[in-house]
Symmetry: C2
């Protein structure tokens, strides 16, 4: 078996070490003669593993004690609705401030509009989502219930390299495609959420990190199963959690610790991104449209000078074991997603291939 | 490695064959050099696999064409709320008729009460949940929006061996712990739902089988991600589905087909249950409290004559590789869950152990 280099935007590459361990113990977890998939979430062995995963995550992100960590289902898309349900219950005239920087933030805004007035603080649409409007021009209503934004737009490849200063307004961030790629200061946020299928684990589990004092704001109509307070009170086991995804995320957390934690990952990730963007910028065959100050470390979209070569590029890339480079259907071109589990050699191999392709076709 | 016999109520045993295949291809699916967990749900290879899984399920259950099959997240507990959200949107005075037969149906009733008046058609509580009140005594309001019930109570071990005749009232069934254990006539139901972690696959995926003409009844406030119509329109890929759980469920469906389908499974399951109940009834050391006409084929709770022996029973069972026999905390005693993936030899081994234990301790 040869493992390919996998640039999929999500569900994305997982570390070989993690998959090898999961494979080795898939039918026989902890010498119990059963799979981790075949044990009750109420079993002490599972509970121990689950608690350890949470602690490892807390260690990696240095999550303060006054934050709850929830392991949920439904992806970030479910959170687009569950966040207003959980945070707006005490508001007479709920108002959600939204920063629109691309497809994902726009979707989050649309769902918030079911529950509140939404106010667009800044909109990158006027710049074709290629740059983040400067904060000096943001129009933040003082009475906003919270401000939501997307630190990394997975599709457009637009990323915040700063945390917006919003004074006392609770800050809510969809970190699906950036969480665990570098250290962050959790205390600056009211709520962080992330679908797992980028840097955390397999699709089917979603992390929510929420300041505990916000847990009393739920709308009374919220189903128990989506009520953050009840989920927190029950250690994310109000009902059966996605046990295998939780386990695998736990293995990823341990792998991250072995790599040296998030400071070490940030160095590697910055180096990977920098060399790929530098190569693209130096070429006049490949092009990335994003403002260099706002380029994503995780998702690098690029186009070929001649888009009739797209199909051939993808086909030859696959033949070289460089997989899943096709850009999102709404954007076209290519996208290289270079999450934590994509090794630096993968980026080197991609650049070598791109050079060679340009030489032959440019 | 010796595989144990696993009587866990859920997440429950999976077939060895299924786990072995998943293990063999965990890092290299379809010779692509990547895991099935590491590929986009929009990739043609994944879409093909996902569609095949749905077709296999339709074949097994003979799902009529006018029913949609949805692959969702959140477990049956999420459906307790999503069903009223999706079915009551057109009702001026929504009324949900509920049959309460134990812990799960009571929970479903409690969540429905957020959205509708609930009317208890029949309540087994008066019989300590040991029998199903006869249908002749059910009080079904003609104007009910739908009637919900739990064909198999996983905790109590109480099971319907008939489908209630409710005339034109839509029938909604939580089949989490019974779906795929035998053939059913889907056309008798308006909606069937089931968390996967019993007979379908790993925890984290939930099946909904719903008659298509009911898809226009959603409440306008329902989040897109929970809207059955939108999920159906998008082939259960409105957002990223739990891809590995879907894949593994697909392997289970193929395994079931190789076993001869649900008619064959029903024969095996009935035989397993019959021999275990017969042994329990013939003993005066073990006891099952359920009316013989309403005994679950899937979950067999039993108590020991002397409950101070419980801990020893469980310990010795584990030493004999008979795992997870502890009863639910709300009921106590023991519970042997004998789903599809629990082989007949497991039941034989359990009976042998129980005989021996009785001989030594009875």
């Amino acid at each position: 078996m040869t493992r390919a280099f996998n640039f999929c935007a999500g569900p994305a590459a997982l570390p070989d070490e993690v998959l090898l361990q999961a494979q080795a113990e898939l039918l026989d977890w902890q010498q119990r003669g059963i799979s981790v998939m075949e044990i009750s979430h109420r079993h002490a062995a599972f509970e121990t593993m689950a608690a350890e995963a949470e602690q490892d995550l807390r260690d990696l992100l240095q999550v303060p004690d006054d934050y709850a960590v929830l392991f949920m289902q439904g992806g970030a898309t479910a959170q687009f609705s569950l966040i207003p349900m959980n945070l707006l219950g005490k508001e007479a005239s709920p108002l959600v401030a939204c920063v629109n920087t691309g497809i994902w933030s726009n979707k989050a805004t649309a769902e918030a509009a079911r529950y509140a007035k939404t106010h667009i603080v800044a909109d990158a649409q006027g710049f074709q989502n290629t740059t983040i409007p400067p904060m000096t021009e943001w129009d933040i209503p003082a009475q906003a219930s919270y401000l939501q934004y997307t630190p990394n737009e997975t599709i457009g490849g637009l990323e915040f390299h700063f945390v917006p200063e919003v004074e006392s307004i609770p800050l809510v961030a969809d970190m699906s495609s950036t969480l665990l790629s570098r250290p962050i200061d959790v205390s600056k946020f009211a709520l962080i959420y992330a679908g797992a299928q980028k840097n955390i684990g397999p699709a089917g589990i979603t992390l929510v990190i929420v300041r505990k004092d916000l847990l009393d704001r739920v709308m009374p109509s919220t189903p128990s199963v989506f009520n953050y307070q009840r989920i927190a009170d029950n250690g994310s086991m109000l009902n059966t959690p996605p046990t295998f995804a939780w386990y695998l995320s736990g293995l990823v957390f341990k792998w991250l610790k072995r790599q040296g934690g998030l400071t070490a990952m940030a160095e590697i990730n910055e180096r990977k991104a920098t060399k790929l963007y530098r190569f693209i910028d130096e070429s006049d065959f490949y092009h990335n449209p994003i403002d260099p100050d706002c380029r994503s470390w995780m998702n690098v979209p690029f186009t070929l000078k001649d888009d009739t070569l797209d199909a051939r590029f993808l086909q030859e890339a696959e033949a070289n074991k460089l997989m899943n480079l096709k850009g999102h259907r709404s954007v076209g071109g290519m996208r290289a997603s270079i999450y934590n589990a994509v090794p630096e050699q993968a980026v080197d191999a991609l650049i070598t291939f791109m050079k060679d392709f340009e030489k032959r076709c440019g």
